[in-house]
């Protein structure tokens, strides 16, 4: 019994939130890694691209909600998502046309593109704050829990409850579908293959007749879709606030780098590594240990390695360790020197 309780507590506070957060980070990191692989720069505007796509989804959700439309147990945002993706694609393609393309033609150094993306970040951040304001916005509706902690307790007779939020399940399912689609696209379709070829060796790809502008366009479309999905999932699961999305940049970068930047598989692995490190290091283990240890050895403190405010520190430290010992990341990414 004690052991089961410990497992349930662990699942409730560590595994489930970690998997949901990891999926969100993985989707974000996939976007960053694709931009890095194809356009060869770290896109500082990615967090704000996520915020922009999510903002469109939120506005459409509100509009749908005001007409009385709903999906029953599912959040209305899922209906608004495709249109949100479309809006984000338009913005990103426009940005590429107006801003990035010039530097591509100039063959500017990557670091110039990074600085340019800082400017884009400012503008996108400004647009989002201008339209929806800097405050927290709620747009989640539908059923809140698949199973609530109380139901779980009465069902199993255990002392510990296990709550699974609907948004957590949706996050994981959507992430699996999206990742499967992406890998199918990259590995099986012509466009996907040309993207990989372009990422591996630009000159060779150009020689074999791949149209770089088309590759770049497809990349941006995928990146915008991933960003909007990641942002919407994060917003449904936690909350939407423009500043939070800007702050997500650090764990997302960390995920991409830890996995091996430029490597899509690495981005997913990195997302989960970062998410689980953040959750386990900032979680108070007292409860789980209390179930597992004999009463005399039960910990008196919270057994929390670090306060939750240091979650950025966790992603950063892991990032540094990986950079120091394995500069190309866990999965072989592009060179870091």
């Amino acid at each position: 019994m004690e052991f089961l309780n410990a497992i349930v507590a662990l699942a409730n506070y560590v595994l489930i939130p970690g998997i949901a957060y990891g999926s969100q980070l993985a989707l974000g990191a996939l976007g960053v890694t694709l931009v890095y692989g194809i356009l060869r720069f770290s896109n500082f505007a990615h967090g704000d691209t996520m915020a922009f796509g999510t903002m469109i989804v939120i506005l459409l959700t509100w509009a749908l909600q005001s007409t009385g439309f709903n999906l029953g147990p599912l959040p209305t945002a899922l209906v608004a998502l495709p249109l949100g993706i479309l809006g984000c694609i338009l913005l990103v393609l426009l940005t590429d046309r107006l801003v990035y393309r010039f530097y591509r033609e100039q063959k500017a150094k990557p670091v110039i593109l990074v600085i340019v993306s800082m400017g884009v970040m400012f503008v996108m951040n400004g647009i989002v704050r201008f339209i929806i304001g800097p405050d927290d916005q709620s747009f989640a509706d539908g059923e809140r829990f698949i199973i609530s902690a109380r139901d779980f307790k009465t069902l199993t007779g255990l002392e510990e409850g296990l709550g699974i939020r609907t948004t957590q399940l949706i996050t994981v399912v959507t992430a699996i579908v999206v990742v499967a689609l992406l890998f199918w696209f990259l590995n099986k379709t012509r466009a996907g293959k040309s993207m990989r070829a372009y990422s591996d060796n630009e000159d060779l790809a150009l020689l074999s007749g791949i149209n770089p502008e088309r590759v770049v366009m497809i990349t941006w479309i995928i990146v915008a879709a991933l960003a909007t999905i990641a942002g919407t999932l994060y917003g449904l699961d936690k909350s939407f606030k423009p500043f939070t999305y800007f702050q997500l940049l650090l764990p997302i970068f960390a995920s991409a780098v830890v996995g091996g930047i430029g490597n899509p598989l690495g981005a997913i692995a990195g997302g989960f590594v970062i998410a689980f490190s953040e959750v386990t290091i900032t979680y108070a283990w007292k409860k789980v240990l209390g179930y597992l240890m004999p009463e005399s050895l039960e910990p008196s403190g919270l057994v929390q390695l670090m306060s939750t405010d240091y979650k950025f520190a966790v992603s950063f430290v892991i990032l540094l360790i990986v950079l120091l010992f394995k500069p190309t990341g866990l999965f072989k990414g592009q060179s870091t020197t």
Partner: protein, 445 residues
């Protein structure tokens, strides 16, 4: 038009703008813009040292500025009576232990041959060290934070005065400024050691991370900084307005110049600040000007322009990068300490990357990277715009919405959102300058 004339005109234009704002918005406000402009100019000199001279991409400016602010507290505030006795030695012991743990891990890493034994040994050292560190730190921290938590609850600083008299030692802030530089230099050394050998994007991500960690520490390590409870009443190296207003000599002098004593005293204090800041700015400008035109500066630029060639000539690229990274960060730290002195409070919650990192970058880019004068001009100009975009945005929105009905929700939303125009404007300026005038207003020679 000669360069000198052009530059003089540009500077005259910026100071003209500040003076015009003085006529319209009051001199107090204009002096505020000038003072923060001086500090911004110093920060952008620091970033210019890194980016303009050496091509190092540092997006952790905020962290170094905040460390300067920490120095202002640790030097300027009086020690909290009893706090050090309660847990000071415990905290110091814990920190020493923490450093010793890391050193032991590094020694083990260097001393043992690679393999599973080494990994396990390092893990064991780190985990054991961490728990001993926390075991010693936590009770001491609790003891310190328990000392009069409403008013202090932190160790305080090195000011020799007591709670009543520490404000008389305002001169001590002049020491806090270089100490802020030292703090930032220390952090820069750590981060530089770890990340400078990597591609420039990675230095950016690493600095972005360290800035967030420094802010998280400032917000949460209450024993050191009072956290989000903020430290207020940091002493100042200039007289207080109230003292001036109570001094008969000052009131007479103000009256003879036609000033109201209240307004006169605030402006007088700000002028004194401006003089101090200008002195620091001139010293740092002179030093970086000399550095740029020394063999060292030429070597840095050679490395920046062609790293491979410079390395082939026998230049130690990583070492030079580390040097200039530390120097530039130190300059940001000095500016951070000055800013906290001007505010006379440390409010960790207000440090935001958009304001203290990316805005400084806009200053450097717009002013002209690689040119010290350009960085200074950018600092003043962009700071002026940052302050003025909000009223201008509001004014624009008032005009745009003039035709709408009074109760229109769109009108209310537009006017309310005018404050958010700042970020967009700064981003647009940055993108446009990078596109059409990538060398900035005063290009590198």
């Amino acid at each position: 038009m000669s360069d000198t004339l052009r530059n003089t005109l540009l500077f005259a234009l910026v100071f003209g703008l500040i003076i015009v704002s003085g006529f319209f918005q009051g001199w107090n406000n204009a002096m505020f813009i000038l003072n923060m402009g001086l500090i911004s100019a110093i920060m952008s000199l620091g970033v210019n040292l890194q980016w303009g001279f050496a091509g190092l991409f540092n997006v952790g400016v905020m962290g170094f500025v905040a460390l300067g602010g920490l120095a202002a507290v640790l030097i300027g505030m009086p020690a909290t009576p009893g706090a050090f006795g309660a847990g000071g030695w415990g905290v110091i012991g814990a920190l020493v232990l923490g450093v010793a743990t890391i050193l032991a891990a590094v020694l083990a890493y260097r001393g043992m041959s690679p393999g599973r034994a080494r990994s396990l040994a390092i893990m064991a050292i780190l985990i054991f060290g961490f728990f001993v560190f926390r075991g010693l730190l936590d009770p001491s921290v609790e003891a310190i934070e328990a000392v009069n938590p409403a008013a202090t609850g932190y160790l305080g600083g090195l000011n020799p005065g007591t709670d009543e008299t520490y404000r008389d030692n305002g001169w001590i802030m002049l020491i806090a400024w270089p100490v802020g530089g030292l703090f930032a230099a220390g952090a820069a050394w750590l981060i530089g050691k770890a990340a400078l050998g990597l591609r420039s994007d990675y230095l950016a991500i690493a600095t972005l991370g360290i800035a967030e960690i420094i802010i998280a520490m400032l917000k949460n390590e209450d024993w050191l900084t009072r956290g989000v409870k903020n430290v207020v009443g940091i002493p100042r190296p200039v007289p207080y307005e109230l003292d001036l207003q109570n001094s008969a000599a000052f009131v007479d002098r103000a009256a003879s110049l036609g000033f109201d004593p209240v307004e006169g005293s605030t402006i007088f204090v700000k002028i004194l600040y401006a003089l101090l800041f200008a002195a620091v700015l001139l010293i740092i400008f002179w030093l970086s000007h000399r550095a740029l035109h020394s063999p060292w500066g030429r070597m840095l630029r050679a490395i920046r322009d062609n790293e491979v060639a410079a390395e082939a000539m026998g230049k130690d690229v990583t070492k030079r990068h580390l040097q200039v990274f530390i120097l530039g960060s130190a300059v940001c730290g000095i500016a951070g300490a000055m800013m906290t002195t001007l505010d006379s409070q440390l409010t960790p919650g207000t440090y935001q990357p958009l304001r203290f990192t990316f805005l400084i970058w806009v200053m450097v880019i717009v002013g002209g990277s690689g040119n010290n004068l350009g960085a200074i001009l950018g600092g003043f100009l962009i700071w002026f715009l940052w302050v003025q975009v909000e009223p201008i945005g509001l004014f624009l929105m008032d005009i745009i919405t003039a035709g709408m009905a009074e109760d229109s929700p769109l009108k209310a939303h537009l006017i309310e959102s005018a404050a958010q125009m700042r970020l967009m404007t700064m981003g647009l300026i940055m993108i446009l300058v990078l596109r059409f005038s990538p060398r900035g207003l005063i290009p590198e020679k």
